[in-house]
Structures are given as structure tokens and as C-alpha cells.
Amino acid sequence: MAKITKANSLGEWFDQRLNTTAFTKVMMTEYWIPKDINFLWAMGVVLAVTFKILVISGIFLLMYYKPDVNLAFDSVNYTIMQEVAYGWLFRHMHGVAASVIFLIIYIHMFTGIYYGSYKKGREMIWITGMLLFVTFSAAGFSGYMLPWGQMSYWAASVITNLFAGGSLEAWGLVEWIRGGFTVNDATLTRFFMLHVFLLPLAIIGIIAVHFYTLRIPHVNNQEADDIDFDAEAEKYLSGDKKNAKVIPFWPVFLSKDFAVLGVFFVFYFYLVFFHFNFAIDPVNFDPADSMKTPAHIYPEWYFLWSYETLRGPFFDMMGMKAADIGLIIFGMAQGIFLVFPFLDRDPDVLPAHKRPLFNIWFWLLLLDLIVLSVYGKLPPSGANAYVGFAATAVFLVLWILLPIITKIDAKRRGAL
């Protein structure tokens, strides 16, 4: 039993019951972050805030949205867009945030890859982060279905079709996922449930674990300097803030994050007010029609690179059908990033500019993903098909090379 005495203030009253002073120290004022970082380290907080925007705007959309094939389209395009006060704003904020959050996720991911913040004790940070990427992808996909426009319907149709496994022809599984022979009312209501309840719940849970995984190995820094956090914290607390290599999370680190957040908000609200169309395809303003396909079906920009690995191999090879090869590479593309820490065979944590071959590998991967994304949007005909095939092949080769080149880097440095 805690020692309860007469409290002299509200803060003290809570402190006696909830230990708030110690809690604030552990979580905020004595949670140490390295000084030697740059604006790229602010992406975590930018993501947390963008997720918050998604939740809040989503709550307001949820109050008028109707998950029914006969009502969904009008509840979005008439009720929310035209009748509800600021309904258009909540929709555009939700749609644009859902798109922009993937840009920040990719920056966050590639910052981690560049600075080697995924290994030697930081594996769980990387793995929980990739689980967040998967759950966010599922949330993006299920949310895209809800306005029940043509793109909603056909994207849902194409993606659920993938579960047939190409030549495996597992149509039973596809029909089970859809709750019918085609995408239908049951599909809409179950994906609605996933989008507004189960996936956000999972995301919040994994975010908590993701934050916790950072506590023991600590945040990495620009030079991958192995900091003695206890010694540096002591320096800071004793008043030698100048020589200490660390700063407290609150108020010092977060104040810098808020500055980056300010810049992000200018960009984000510019898109929300002046450029919301990029996140809302014009084709989706036609109601879903299972008897009429849109001329060109493509996913949102953040899925384009993996979509292109799916259709990159367009001719049969080694006795396998083109579609099956594509599906295998597509499946691999979804999972390969998860095991990144174990494919990197270099025992040292170093930024890419101190790892000659890995540095080249890093920029090639980034370039290849951009090429795949661009060609994922173009129709796969003529020369486009060959560029798509080549970029898919490069993607595959890069992953095969990763363990080899990281080992060579380590050997040359004398670490292996």
C-alpha cells in the first residue's frame, strides 16, 4: 500500500496514487535521445501525428458512412461531401493522410536502412515496424473499398483474386474471403469492420510495442556511435548539457520534432486544400459496377512497386506460367523486407556512406523501387513491359546480392 498523506496540490494527489512524477521521468524527461541526429529522425513523430489525424477524421466520416452496397456510394459522395458541414474537409484530410502516411513510412524505413538501425539489438524495432507497414497496407486497402466506386470495386476484385494463388486455382479461399462469388455486400461489411475496428486496434497495439522495442537498444545516430547512455545522461543531468551526447525526449527532442512537423503540415494541408485529387481517383466517382471494368486498373501509388513485380514477368519461363512467376516474386516482395536484419551479414552498425558496396546497393534499391512504381502506373504494353521485367529482375538480384556484398564490406574493413 502506497503511503497516502494529505496532498498539497492536485499533482501531488495523483502522484501518491499513480506515481506520475516517476512515470513522466521514465517516459519523457529522462528518456534519452542522441544529439547527433537530423530531421529524418522526426519521421516517427510525424507518423504518430498523421495516424492521429486519420483516427479523428475517420471518426467524423464514420458517423455518416453507411456500409451497404446500395447506400455506401451516396453516403460518401452526397451526404458527407455535400450535406455534412465540413464533411468534404474530413474526407479530404482522411484520404490525403492515408496517402501521405505511406510517403513518410517509406522515408522512415529508408532512414533505418541507410543508418543501419535494424540490427545488433535493434531487430525487433525493424520487425514491428514492418508489421506496421503490413497493417497500414491492409487498412489502406480496406478503406479504399468503402466509397464503393468503380476503382474501389475493381481493386478489391483484383486483390482478392490474388488469393487464388495463380495456377493453384484456390477459388474456395477467394470466395471465403469475399463471402460470395464476387465482391459483394458481405465483402463490403467485413472490410468495413476490419477498417474501422480490428486493423486500427492492431495498429495501436503494434505502435505501443514498436515504441517499447526502442527502449532497450536506444535510438541510433548519424555516425552509429555506440553511446553509453547512462554516463551521458549523468553528464546532462549534472548540468554539462554542452558535452553530453544526449538530450531528453521532452522537451528538447520533441520541440525539434514539432518544427519538422510544422513543415510537414504546410505540405499536408497544401495537398488537402489544393491537390486532394491525387488521392481520389476520378474513376471512383462512378458507382461500382460488376459488369463494367474501368479502362485501366492500377493501385494507389504506394502499392505500385509491388504491383509491378506482380506483372513484370510477362512470359513463361522454366516451365512456369508468367502469372505464377509474378505471383511468387510479388509474395516475396511482401515478406523480404521483414527479414532484412538477417540478410545483412555485416556485424557492424554503420551508416551506408561508411559501407562502400552497401551504399551502392542502397541507392540502386531506391532507384529500382522508383522505376517499378513509375512503370506500375503505365499500361504494360510495348517497351514498358520490358522495362518492368528488367526492373523486377533487378529487384530480385539485389536481394540475392545483399548477404554477399555486406559480407565483402565487413571483410575489407576487417570486421569478419
Binding site: W154, E175, G180, T182, M291, A323, P379, S381
Partner: protein, 164 residues
């Protein structure tokens, strides 16, 4: 019987009961996602073949997908995939391009896909462009000149095997 054994026995019994209950719950949850009986019952579509005009295909909606039914003219190629009733030959095919699932349109004597230029002849076989295989065959059964899409009859099996 020692105390430890007694405790681990109780522990294992508890785990076994929990596992059975958990597995049963999973089966129930799986079945909650199965297509509903009303959806399954709606999965059959009747098509009367005797009223078709040669060379003019019709599009029937079956399980939310378009199905092409074409009565062939004399000039059109014969194929193993044809459904033969008396002297008439029919092409039965799911009207989704085998490339990326768009719906091809009938142009004089071929189905042409507007999305990526794929073409299928009157037998449903790919003749041009990216489609990797012929149009898919829906399951059906035959009762005189009435075709029931969704059932599985000997005529369907015959064409399916000819396809393979």
C-alpha cells in the same frame, strides 16, 4: 502421486480443454465468413439456348460475372470447346479477359478488349495481344436446350477435359 505431477496434470488438462474450445471457436469464426446460403442459392442462372441468333452473342450475368453465350454461324471455326446440340454449335465462356480481368466487347467476329488490346476468336481462344490463355469456362449443365450455369453436367466435363 507427488504434488508436482498432480499440478502438471491439472495444467495439461486445462490446456487441453482450452485448446479444444479455441479450435471449436476458430471453426465457428471460419464459417461465419463463408458465403451465406442466400448467396449460394443465387449462384445459378438459366439460359435458354434455342432463342439465340447465330453470330449474335449474348451476355448473361452469373455470380456477378459476365458470361458470353454465342451461337456460331456456319462460317465460324469449329472447336473442341464448342457445346454441340444437334446441328448447332455454341461457345460458352466467362467474359473476363484472362490478362487482367476487363470485359472484352464483341466486334463483328471477335471479342476485343479495350484495356490492353487482347483479342479472342469466336471459340474464345486468344488470338492477339497479352492474354495468356483462352477465356475461362463456367460450369453448367444442360436440360434439353436450357443451360443452367453453376451446375456441373457431363457436357461441361467433356469441354473442360477437351480444354486441358
Amino acid at each position: 502421486m507427488s504434488d508436482t505431477n498432480r499440478r502438471s496434470f491439472i495444467g495439461f488438462s486445462f490446456a487441453a480443454v482450452a485448446a479444444v474450445g479455441g479450435a471449436a471457436a476458430l471453426v465457428g469464426m471460419k464459417q461465419a465468413w463463408d458465403p451465406l446460403p442466400s448467396v449460394l442459392a443465387g449462384g445459378f442462372t438459366d439460359v435458354e439456348l434455342s432463342t439465340l441468333k447465330p453470330g449474335n452473342p449474348i451476355t448473361v450475368k452469373w455470380r456477378g460475372k459476365p458470361v458470353f453465350v454465342l451461337k456460331k454461324t456456319e462460317q465460324m471455326d469449329k472447336s473442341d470447346r464448342d457445346l454441340v446440340i444437334g446441328n448447332d454449335r455454341f461457345t460458352i465462356a466467362i467474359g473476363l479477359c484472362t490478362h487482367l480481368g476487363c470485359i472484352p466487347a464483341w466486334k463483328t467476329d471477335v471479342w476485343k478488349c479495350a484495356c490492353h488490346g487482347g483479342e479472342f476468336n469466336a471459340s474464345g481462344k486468344q488470338t492477339f495481344g497479352p492474354p495468356p490463355k483462352p477465356l475461362d469456362l463456367p460450369s453448367f449443365s444442360l436440360k434439353g436446350t436450357k443451360m443452367v450455369l453453376g451446375e456441373t453436367g457431363p457436357e461441361f466435363e467433356k469441354i473442360k477435359n477437351a480444354k486441358a
